[in-house]
């Protein structure tokens, strides 16, 4: 018989066993904890880089939205962390963006990463509509297909079975010549600076009064401006008069002046409004420009006529037009402007079997078509089927401003000329052209592949054989380029305008030929598939039967039978590598991870 006289031996064994178990469990748990921490750190390092890059993207978008007045932000919550952005102004339109991501917060970050990049005002132009047409209007052949939206300042007519997948706007037609205008000449031309403080005057708001010569709708105004730096888009208002100053409670229409259309040289810049206000004859109204901020580096300059040649109005400035009792101060002179009256009835007229899949906004809708969504109109024909809601009595849509100004084109021309001048015609099959001004015609044979280093300026005509393609040089990357032609352009079949090969890059053909005065077509594309942008603000563009394209803006457009538009959404934010200052874009070679 075994006896244990000493108690507690088993307890020791139990403690040893428990100790081994505890050690093993703790070892596993601590190891797992270590891996968890490592994995979290690794994942957070990825996340924080993405956060910082998100900060850069946000800053860039905000700079463009505010015209450069965005000053950064602090601890914006995004995902699992926060980011802060600091904007440092380096002058000449250049800014440094320092975006720092923190996880989980700035006060006690587990991980932190800063990305620094330089941005500058590039050349941002926006082509929002697949087709944008001036007063000449749009003529569509049978079976034409538009995959996008159309905005026309003139009539739209179409053959059988035409189809438009987006919205259609037909604005009221306007006058060709100005109703009221003020300009200066020679020594009487003076700069009037606003949007900054001048001699103690905080010139935030500037206005010029005018009196229409006849009653009617105001279609647009043009303002003679230039800019210094990159000021934000100012708001332009048409206001009633209140005892010799703009009536803050009498706003008739509001519009935005696109800073991208203004350069460092004076030019008349068009502004259209959210509605076309009705004005009375010989009654005083005001064009009031409200700059977004006082900025001594980024501001506006309005041309001022010291001779005071305009006798139907006066200019004034104010610190705050919205103050309780706003003070408006006199300016000596007359600021440069033009007003255009309009309101002539326009129509959309598509015939049998035609379909508009979006909304239609037009004074008159006639012909024989189906509108899949809503119709906004004054008059509608009996053979129109509206599947959405009818809105009779709707005001005509106001006209829109073209996305490229004369000032933009002038600047491209100057840059082309700076690249060199070729006197005389160019014939044959040249492989590389530009940047250059060609005084003469450019005539190319069949199947030429021409590499374009934009901008290229041709003072004469461009004539190409079949299958000739203009390709933007690959060095342009994601930016776009332009060919400016003053004469007519005739493309053979299967011709094309191609970007650099990088997404977002386009080659734009700009024709300054005036079809409204000269009668001929500015651009004839033949039976081609055009992947670039065609722009003719005063010209007619004619596309042959079966042609296809992405974006055309012209005074008048004639589409052949079965022509096809396929709008590219990237056209809404096209950046040109040379030209007038516009939107901010990243400067190559400045990306830095800190």
């Amino acid at each position: 018989m075994i006896k244990f006289n000493e108690s507690g031996q088993m307890l020791i064994l139990v403690f040893i066993a428990l100790g081994v178990m505890l050690f093993t469990v703790l070892f596993v748990i601590s190891g797992a904890q270590l891996y968890f921490q490592n994995a979290s750190y690794s994942a957070n390092t990825e996340k924080v880089t993405a956060l910082a890059e998100a900060g850069v993207d946000k800053a860039l978008a905000s700079l463009n939205k505010t015209g450069g007045s965005y000053n950064g932000e602090t601890e914006t919550v995004f995902g699992d962390g926060v980011y802060s952005v600091a904007v440092i102004d380096k002058g000449a339109g250049i800014k440094v963006l320092n975006a720092t991501g923190y996880i989980p917060n700035k006060a006690s970050p587990k991980v932190k990463k800063t990305i620094s990049v330089e941005v500058s005002t590039g050349i941002g132009l926006s082509f929002v509509y697949g087709l944008q047409i001036g007063e000449g209007g749009l003529e569509m052949g049978n079976g034409a297909l538009l995959n996008g939206s159309v905005y026309s300042n003139g009539n739209i007519t179409g053959g059988n079975t035409t189809r438009i997948t987006g919205d259609v706007y037909v604005a009221g037609v306007g006058q060709i010549s100005a109703d009221q205008q003020s300009d200066c000449f020679g020594a009487n031309c003076q700069d009037y600076v606003f949007g900054r403080s001048v001699g103690g005057e905080n010139r935030l708001d500037v206005a010029q009064s005018f009196k229409p010569s006849a009653e009617g709708l105001l279609n647009k105004v043009s303002i003679k401006l230039k800019k210094v730096g990159s000021p934000a888009n100012p708001t332009v208002r048409i206001m009633r008069d209140n005892s010799g100053k703009p009536d803050k409670n009498g706003i008739l229409a509001t519009g935005t002046l696109s800073a991208n259309l203004v350069t460092s040289q004076y030019s008349l810049v068009d502004v259209t409004f959210n509605t076309s206000p009705g004005l009375n004859e010989n009654t005083t109204y005001w064009i009031m420009v409200n700059s977004q901020a006082l900025d001594n580096s980024n501001y506006w300059v309005w041309s001022n006529d010291l001779a005071q040649g305009y006798t139907r109005g006066v200019p004034k400035w104010s610190v705050n037009w919205q103050a309780g009792n706003p003070v408006w101060n006199a300016i000596s002179g007359d600021l440069g402007f033009q007003t255009y009256m309009g309101g002539g009835a326009t129509s959309l007229n598509l015939t049998t079997g035609s379909i508009v899949e979006g909304n239609v906004y037009a004074n008159t809708i006639t012909g024989n078509m189906t509108i899949s969504k809503n119709a906004y109109y004054q008059t509608i024909g009996p053979s129109i089927t509206v599947q959405g809601t009818k809105f009779p009595g709707s005001a005509d849509p106001p006209p829109t401003v073209f996305p490229v100004s004369d000032a933009n084109i002038t600047e491209w021309k100057n840059q082309a000329e700076a690249g060199g001048v070729t006197n005389g015609n160019i014939n044959g099959c040249t492989m590389t052209l530009g940047p250059r001004k060609i005084i003469g015609n450019l005539t190319l044979e069949n199947s030429c592949i021409v590499t374009v280093k934009a901008p290229l300026w041709v003072t004469g005509n461009i004539i190409t054989g079949n299958s000739t393609v203009f390709v933007l040089d690959s060095s342009f990357g994601a930016t776009s380029g332009v060919i400016v032609v003053e004469g007519t352009t005739v493309f053979g079949n299967n011709s094309d305008l191609k970007g650099s090969g990088t997404a977002g890059s386009y080659l734009m053909l700009v024709s300054t030929y005036d079809s409204s005065q000269n009668g001929n077509e500015a651009i004839e594309t033949g039976n081609s598939s055009i992947s670039g942008i065609v722009y003719a603000p005063k010209g007619t563009v004619e596309l042959a039967n079966g042609a296809s394209f992405k974006e055309i803006t012209a005074w008048k457009i004639e589409l052949g039978n079965s022509a096809v538009l396929t709008y590219d959404s990237g056209l809404a934010s096209t950046v040109f590598s040379a030209g007038p200052s516009g939107s901010f874009s990243l400067n190559r070679g400045t990306y830095q991870v800190k």
Binding site: F4, V20, M21, F27, Y35, N38, G501, G589, Y591
Partner: protein, 190 residues
């Protein structure tokens, strides 16, 4: 008072139970430790791939170009499918970029090591370095693309995008496991 002791049968039964319970415990502990080691090894591989690719990707983003080669002393590093030489703008003492002055980053496989070497320009404030990102490299492969849509594989000097595939090989128990990760980045400063 005399206490009654345990009988032999009681002791044998108790010892039998203890042996069975102890054996089970040991088996559980061995299995869980083995499972833990196995999973840790896989996680280690995954983390190592992620961290290495992150370093390579961040360097590619900052690069101005893929350099064809870089010579340091007797050694010439030539860009190819197994070695990447990046040309990166130098920085000054305030961490600002210096125009037209470049440092060179070299990534390559050295036996089972993933090495990252920095060769700064004399004017640069960037430090010279020779770092090892991984010690279990099985293979590394660099591919070079342009910005066309879809991207086309091009010579390194023309690349605007670099894709890197990294395979790590690690012993896990009695066998080796290979894990591969792929990442790519555009050159932001080309």
């Amino acid at each position: 008072m005399r206490e009654r002791g345990l009988t032999l049968i009681e002791v044998l039964v108790a010892m039998g139970i203890a042996v069975v319970a102890g054996s089970l415990l040991v088996v559980i502990m061995v299995n869980s430790a083995g499972f833990f080691t196995n999973q840790s090894s896989k996680m280690q591989q995954g983390l190592n791939i992620n961290d290495s690719l992150l370093q390579v990707r961040n360097s590619i983003k900052q690069a101005s170009a893929v350099a064809v080669s870089y010579t340091s002393g007797p050694t010439t590093y030539t860009t190819g499918s197994n070695l990447l030489v990046l040309k990166v703008l130098s920085i000054d003492s305030l961490n600002n970029l210096i125009d037209d002055t470049y440092d060179y980053f070299v990534f390559f496989r050295d036996q089972n090591l993933l090495r990252f070497k920095t060769f700064p320009n004399p004017a640069s404030s960037r430090k010279s370095s020779d770092r090892i990102f991984s010690t279990i490299v099985d293979s590394i492969n660099f591919q070079y693309f342009n910005s066309a849509i879809p991207p086309v594989e091009v010579a390194p000097a023309s690349a605007t995008n670099v894709r890197v595939s990294l395979s790590l090989r690690q012993k896990n128990g009695l066998k080796y496991e290979i894990k591969t990760g792929t990442s790519e980045a555009n050159l932001r400063n080309d």
